[in-house]
């Protein structure tokens, strides 16, 4: 929901309307959590980031300007919080690392087992940070290219470059597995 409907809901939420607050959380919290989880690969940390994102939202609501959808704004905040945490964990910038190729799992196995699903998550997690962000927002959460670019604070062309590189890395990973067997 966007435009007048979302603005009205945000205004009511800022005014203490519990139903509007619950609706805002129920609609937007899952995507914020999933984005945070894919970036951090840790349930507790993803929940911390999600909670912090909404704490900031509650403070922001009285001054809310409907320039973007709430979900886009929330994902921007969540991504920034994730980046802060990742930098504290790893002093080396993720984008400077070479793209890794994981050959631990056959594609056939990936299709057949829970372990395969976890292997896919590992492949996505192994992507450089910005590529992972782009893939998460566009391919996994279905955001439009304009929304995803806004959430990442990049241009659409830059987003497309990140997406293409992420897909190329995943495809190389799958090909390497098949050739290795």
């Amino acid at each position: 929901m966007s435009g007048i409907g979302e603005s009205d809901q945000i205004a009511r939420a800022a005014g203490g309307d519990r139903a509007a607050q619950a609706a805002l959380v129920n609609r937007n919290m899952p995507i914020v959590f999933r984005v945070a989880y894919r970036m951090l690969q840790d349930q507790a940390e993803a929940e911390d980031v999600t909670q912090e994102t909404f704490l900031r939202a509650w403070k922001q609501l009285p001054d809310w300007q409907p320039k973007a959808k709430f979900s886009t704004w929330a994902c921007t905040v969540a991504l920034n919080l994730c980046r802060d945490r990742l930098r504290k964990k790893k002093p080396v910038l993720m984008d400077e690392l070479p793209e890794r190729v994981d050959t631990a799992l056959r594609p056939e196995e990936a299709l057949a087992s829970r372990q395969g699903v976890e292997g896919i998550a590992e492949k996505i997690a192994a992507l450089p940070e910005r590529q992972r962000e782009a893939l998460t927002l566009c391919a996994l959460e279905g955001m439009s290219n304009i929304e995803a670019a806004a959430a990442m604070d990049v241009g659409v062309r830059a987003l497309e470059s990140l997406l293409a590189r992420a897909r190329r890395s995943l495809r190389a990973s799958l090909s390497a597995q098949m050739e290795g067997d």
Partner: protein, 152 residues
């Protein structure tokens, strides 16, 4: 705005970035891209095959559900009263009318009611113009207005 011109290179870029499924392509370029794809599907078959392999892998990606306690804790921190800001005028109004800006209007209404009740009470006592005049003249030591006039 819908893009009408689509090139071979741009369609390959769309497939490489957004995958094989047209619904994932940018909305403003989708129709033109579909038209070009339909016109020469063989030119894009390899790119689409490669993209579909990645799409299939991504479709298997799974993320755990957030805990129920997360929703509760987020809502527990939500504002319970309006977070209005105090501007210069509203601050001044608060100083002048600590009971709220509706108070002056209530006071004016009360004054009007008191005037109406007082006027009615005055009329109902039967004290007319003559009695009032007598009281006035007697205050100056005259019996009536006529005695006052005779002096003039």
């Amino acid at each position: 705005m819908t893009v009408t011109g689509m090139t071979h290179e741009r369609l390959l870029e769309l497939i490489a970035a957004y995958g094989a499924e047209p619904m994932g392509w940018p909305e403003d370029e989708r129709d033109a891209a579909r038209a070009l794809l339909s016109a020469d599907p063989g030119a894009y078959s390899q790119a689409l095959t490669e993209a579909r392999a990645v799409d299939a892998v991504l479709s298997l990606e799974d993320v755990p559900e957030p805990s129920a306690a997360l929703t509760e804790s987020i809502l527990a921190a939500a504002p319970s009263v309006p977070q209005s800001r105090t501007g210069l005028l509203s601050g001044l109004a608060a100083l002048m009318f600590p009971q709220g800006v509706r108070w002056p209007a209530g006071a004016a209404l009360a004054s009007l009611a008191m005037g109406l009740v007082g006027g009615y009470a005055y009329a109902s006592t039967g004290i007319g113009y003559d009695q009032a005049d007598s009281a006035y003249y007697s205050a100056f030591g005259f019996d009536s207005g006529d005695a006052w006039i005779s002096l003039e």
